[in-house]
């Protein structure tokens, strides 16, 4: 038990995020191990059911705790109370990562028609396009954070050979379901929005539907396994 406790990193700090939130910072750089701790801490804090915490938001390098400023039980020193809460969760031990997220299969079609930037990524990575696809589909990804748009997952675990920067000029509209890469991560666009990441495929699944419960296909902490599909299968899955 003592050993496990020693292995759980301590936050670098618990900082105010405005006067209505606290940011529990663990790392200023992308680190998948650190993010796993953030996900586990988020689950532990959520399980406490603190009434004055309105949003518990795991991000790449830390956890944001948003207060409900109108709640009658909000402590006067909510930042300090948040720090004590985090401390207690870390002391009592965090749930295992496997218990935090789900395992989800994401079908992706890498046909050229959907893979708008595949040639460009291949050229930058010094790989053949098929090799880019093989490497992208081979990895297991973790949802590190949701953000930028409702239902948009930041997926960690990208093959380092595919770590290309953002496109110099963002697209005015990236088609819904597009799978894209940049910054050592992969993302999936829940609906048509502007975006600067390199698009290499498309999923037929609906990533976000406000009238569905839950509205988002993916949630922080989920493990995502990609299943490459052909064009015909894409069409079939899309009409399901």
């Amino acid at each position: 038990m003592a050993l496990r406790r020693a292995r759980t990193p301590r936050p670098l700090g618990i900082l105010p995020l405005g006067d209505c939130a606290a940011y529990v910072e663990f790392s200023e750089t992308l680190d998948l191990q650190v993010n796993a701790v953030v996900q586990r801490l988020a689950a532990a804090v959520r399980a406490r059911g603190v009434p004055w915490l309105r949003d518990i938001v795991p991000a790449l390098g830390g956890l944001a705790l948003h207060f409900d400023p109108g709640h009658s039980e909000l402590p006067a020193a909510a930042l300090e109370a948040s720090a004590a809460l985090v401390d207690e969760c870390l002391r009592k031990g965090l749930p295992e990562l496997e218990a935090v997220g789900r395992e989800i299969e994401l079908p992706v079609c890498y046909e050229r028609e959907f893979a708008l930037d595949l040639e460009d990524v291949a050229a930058r990575a010094g790989l053949m396009p098929d090799e880019v696809v093989r490497r992208h589909a081979a990895r297991e990804y973790h949802v590190l954070m949701m953000g930028f748009a409702p239902g948009l997952p930041y997926l960690g675990g990208l093959d380092p050979k595919l770590a290309v920067p953002r496109r110099a000029t963002p697209r005015a509209e990236v088609p819904a379901g597009s799978i894209a890469i940049a910054n050592e991560q992969s993302v999936a666009y829940p609906y048509a929005i502007p975006g600067g990441w390199s698009v290499i495929g498309r999923t037929p699944l609906v990533l976000f539907d406000a009238r569905r419960d839950p509205p988002s296909l993916l949630a922080p902490g989920d493990r995502v396994r990609i299943v490459p599909i052909a064009r015909a299968e894409f069409e079939r899955r899309r009409t399901l």
Binding site: G18, P215, S216
Partner: protein, 336 residues
């Protein structure tokens, strides 16, 4: 029971107190840009506070009330009339069936709230009636009002008007065809003399900006640009140079976060802001001040006054006490 939209206005959306608890899925809280004016408008028609109102932006709509209704208009001062009679602001007004409510251009402030007794009865989506136009959900069909829209009201809206208004009767005054009262609610968020002074704390990345930029942020007068919207207010002023610290890891943001993209011009995040962002955060606007910022129109000016977390908390407590006192007084008028 519904209200017919004859003219939509510039940007008229259904908003309530927001969609909370889902930011971990990237779902933005939304809600009224000026929650103070929204709350006062609701209280003025005897609503509890959960009800949705219409948020009018700069130029208001023209609406036809098919049945009697009790309404209140708060926030930005814009010319408003009901069947040609001037509509008084910040007070409950009873409208007879068939009233045509015209609203014009905002003379002071930028966002007005029209509350109707019983509230606007669009279906809640993910726990809120607020419109989130970027993802096209919430409010009326996930978008701003258009001409010809039928805005659904609470089925009891006419009964509520008939029942609530007489409770105010001892204070009531007739003004032509309109019925209203002699008192009004205070306006709490309209810009006084510009530039308005907005308290803000140093943000997470304040230290990444060079000393000249740090000084300029708190000394300059900033102007709200026309590219501003419900997601963020883009400010023009001196260019703020960040010491080349490379890319910032994308992290959580909140209402009032001031971030600075590569062009050096700050963006203050407003009600429809994204839940995470990758630009350096130079400051965080005190939560109590965000509603006043939201009332600035394009071209409006502000200055940031540095404050500590303790000062921001004190401002928040004071603003809350002031609003709650006003809301209690209005509830008392309705015998609550």
């Amino acid at each position: 029971m519904s209200v017919r939209v004859l003219k939509p206005g510039l940007l008229t959306t259904v908003q309530d107190r927001g969609r909370h608890g889902l930011q971990h899925l990237g779902i933005v809280p939304c809600g009224a840009m000026d929650p103070v004016a929204h709350a006062l408008a609701n209280a003025l028609v005897g609503n509890g506070g959960e009800e949705a109102t219409l948020e009018l932006t700069l130029i208001g709509p023209e609406l036809l009330f098919e049945q009697q209704a009790l309404v209140a208009l708060c926030g930005a001062e814009l010319a408003a009339s009901a069947d040609g009679e001037p509509l008084p602001h910040d007070r409950p007004v009873w409208l007879r069936a068939g009233t045509r409510l015209r609203t014009g251009r905002a003379a002071r402030g930028s966002r007005a709230y029209l509350a109707i007794a019983g509230g606007i009865a669009v279906e809640p989506v993910l726990g809120s009636r607020s419109t989130y136009a970027p993802a096209r959900f919430g409010g009326l069909h996930g978008r701003a009002l258009r001409s010809g829209d039928e805005l659904p009201l609470d089925p009891l809206a006419a009964e509520l008007a008939a029942e609530r208004y007489p409770r105010l009767a001892e204070h009531a005054a007739r003004r032509g065809a309109l019925r209203s009262v002699r008192w009004s609610a205070p306006s709490m968020t309209l810009p006084e003399r510009e530039p308005i002074v907005v308290h803000a704390m140093e943000g997470r990345h304040f230290g990444l900006f060079d000393p000249a930029a740090q000084r300029a942020f708190f000394e300059a007068t900033w102007r709200v640009t026309p590219e501003s919207n419900r997601m963020g207010f883009r400010l023009s002023g001196p260019t703020l140079a960040a010491a080349g610290a490379g890319e910032i890891l994308s992290g959580p943001t909140c209402l009032g976060t001031v971030q600075v993209p590569a062009n050096g011009l700050p963006i203050a995040l407003m009600a429809d802001h994204q839940t995470t962002g990758g630009y350096p955060k130079i400051a965080e606007i005190a939560a109590a001040e965000v509603a006043r910022v939201a009332q600035l129109a394009p071209g409006g000016t502000l200055r940031f006054a540095r404050c500590t977390l303790e000062e921001a908390l004190a401002l928040r407590r004071a603003a809350r006490a002031r609003l709650e006192a006003a809301l209690r007084a209005l509830a008392w008028e309705y015998g609550r």
